[in-house]
Symmetry: C2
Subunit: 371 residues, 2 copies
């Protein structure tokens, strides 16, 4: 239970005894990935995509899985990340539940699922596992690593820990570390899951499942993934029904925005493993690019060996505010890369890269086409 | 149970059959208030203070209750709202649990607490009850009505429904209606309380009490009462302990900001009645100044007969963003009042009026001294 593997997923085994940054090691672990487009003869056209907290490796429609991917408008033939030119590899994060080994996976030591027996997860582990994966596929030097949201953190960790692995980088709506507002949001999301009695210290099953905790966590997430400005235009004060509900229902769903959150949350609740969510959520709090290398943030940036980078942020991002992308751009630049920085005026907040592809597409396309 | 009445509280009885805007009426209801300073012989020095969602009428230290009030820095002898000059009346909102009749109060029809049998509560009811209270105290014409946050909404409702009651007005960090982001926050707060099994459709008692739901609701509130900028300066990424917790605790309190929220929530949980919270929270969603008068917002503003008004907002307010205070100022001005508008640079967000009194004090003091 708890694993959700898209049909076009392929796998790479991690080495036995894969060492986790915060202690412990994994045996029999694997990483799920999908690939798009052909490798060229020089093998120098590989673009690695690292995802946010919840997506699978199914970034776009695939010959083996024609359902739309989570970034379909950005990845494909003729799209900004053009699979006619690039061989795209998208990796499902270690610790997730979409094919890569994580808390719902089987623990070879016990034969049952890891649950909370999964070792502490760090963004650096996600980066190391992704680096292992592309190397196992025979790629020692990538054209570009693209990471958005948590994937942008994973990308920074990868650049610092594997400085020769990629020549170029696109970093979107990410940060060198989480600030207290974002930590508070995630803390509350985790609390909602953990205080649902059916979470039961991670021992839920399909019959006894923390639906309410997951729903609240997702709603909270949605509130910080979008923006007040977008919702004001989109929903205003529209109501689901004309008559106010009465009795206990008077406190429930009445405004359009409440129904919108409810529907989004409903779709998510049973499609993501709660324990995976907790591990991934916490690792985003923990990540700090300076700490990551046992030194300073400046040293981490200086250790990277990038040629070019593009950093994009959005003015309405509540979760990773724009000044954090500015800091990444400054850091990469001080580290020696040729850096472009874009502050987009999208109204969709942190999630703009997923939906405002009219704004994100052209600069990504231009950056890649000029490599 | 569920009522929290400060020692200096006094009471005014509402008339029998007090009609509620959305239907139903109250019998044997009362409003709690405190007064500060003396009434002058002309009886024209009365300032009415309407509160946000949770405060009591104990706005400042009182001869009968020397404990600090919730706005101690602003109200008292020589303070910006100077009780050497003004006779201040602070009213606890109808529907609250600090002395005024609300869901935890005794329902004369049953002898037990109202709980969810309390009729639907509207901001207009809070305004009508406050207007009744000051008239019952013998004041037909106030010098000024001051309202902050929900109290600013109550004040607008009072001005529209009782246009001759006050000559001047100070409106702080409020809005003519709630926008979807704020509705979403409150919806989640209510959901946290309602999904706590111990809420039990409002039938909790001291032994079975929705502590977890109330704690989550309060944490969510704190996240929108303050600002990301304040927390970045105040907490950064400081940790409560140097070693990351392990096991299930790895998802719990580790960063200072998490402990801060937890402590604040802990203090609140048993000091505010959960059913009152639900009723007050929902009435803030419902309020719409235009609807309030059965006409348009412009008509509502035009019906007010104010001489002077001061409107204050804060640039970091997430809950009632600054553009909403601009709209109040424009409306009051179009309605014929002489309006001053101040956009303050406080870092403390929506709650700045409670804590950044260095910025709020001088303009409030100046406005009142010039009346």
């Amino acid at each position: 239970m708890g694993e959700f593997v898209p049909p076009a997923t392929r796998f790479v085994d991690l080495p036995a005894g894969f060492a986790m940054k915060l202690g412990g090691e994994l045996h029999g672990a694997r990483i799920a990935y999908e690939t798009f487009g052909e490798v060229n003869p020089a093998r120098d056209n590989v673009v690695l995509i690292l995802t946010g907290l919840s997506p699978s490796a199914h970034v776009a429609a695939h010959p083996d899985d024609p359902t739309p991917g989570w970034w379909d408008a950005m990845v494909g033939p003729g799209k900004p990340i053009d699979t006619n030119r690039w061989h795209v590899v998208c990796v499902n994060s270690l610790g997730s539940c979409m094919g890569s080994t994580g808390p719902p996976s089987s623990d070879p030591a016990t034969g049952g699922p890891y649950r909370l027996g999964f070792p502490d997860l760090a963004v650096e582990d996600i980066a190391d596992a992704a680096a292992w994966t592309v190397r196992a596929l025979g790629f020692e030097r990538l054209a570009c690593v693209v990471g958005a949201s948590m994937g942008g953190m994973s990308a920074l960790a990868l650049l610092a820990r594997h400085p020769d692995l990629t020549r170029n980088h696109i970093n979107i709506s990410a940060a060198v570390h989480s600030l207290p507002f974002a930590i508070a949001v995630r803390s509350l999301q985790r609390e909602a899951i953990r205080s649902d009695p059916r979470w039961d210290q991670g021992r839920y099953d399909e019959e006894n499942y923390p639906d309410e905790g997951m729903r609240t966590a997702r709603k909270l997430g949605m509130m910080t993934y979008r923006s007040a400005e977008e919702w004001e235009v989109r929903f205003g004060r529209s109501r689901v029904r004309s008559e106010p509900p009465t009795g206990s229902a008077r406190f429930g769903l009445e405004f359009e925005v409440e129904l919108y959150l409810h529907r989004h949350a409903h779709r998510f609740v049973r499609r993501f493993d709660p324990n995976s969510y907790l591990y991934l959520s916490r690792c985003v709090d923990w990540f700090d690019l300076g700490e990551s290398c046992g030194g300073t943030e400046e040293e981490a940036f200086a250790s990277m060996r990038l040629e070019k980078a593009l950093v994009i942020g959005v003015q309405t991002d509540l979760l990773f505010p724009l000044r954090q992308q500015g800091r990444i751009a400054d850091g990469l630049s001080a580290g020696g890369a040729d850096v472009g920085f874009l502050a987009l005026e999208s109204q969709q907040g942190h999630d703009a890269f997923l939906v405002d592809t009219a704004r994100f597409g052209p600069p990504v396309s231009k950056f890649l086409s000029e490599l």
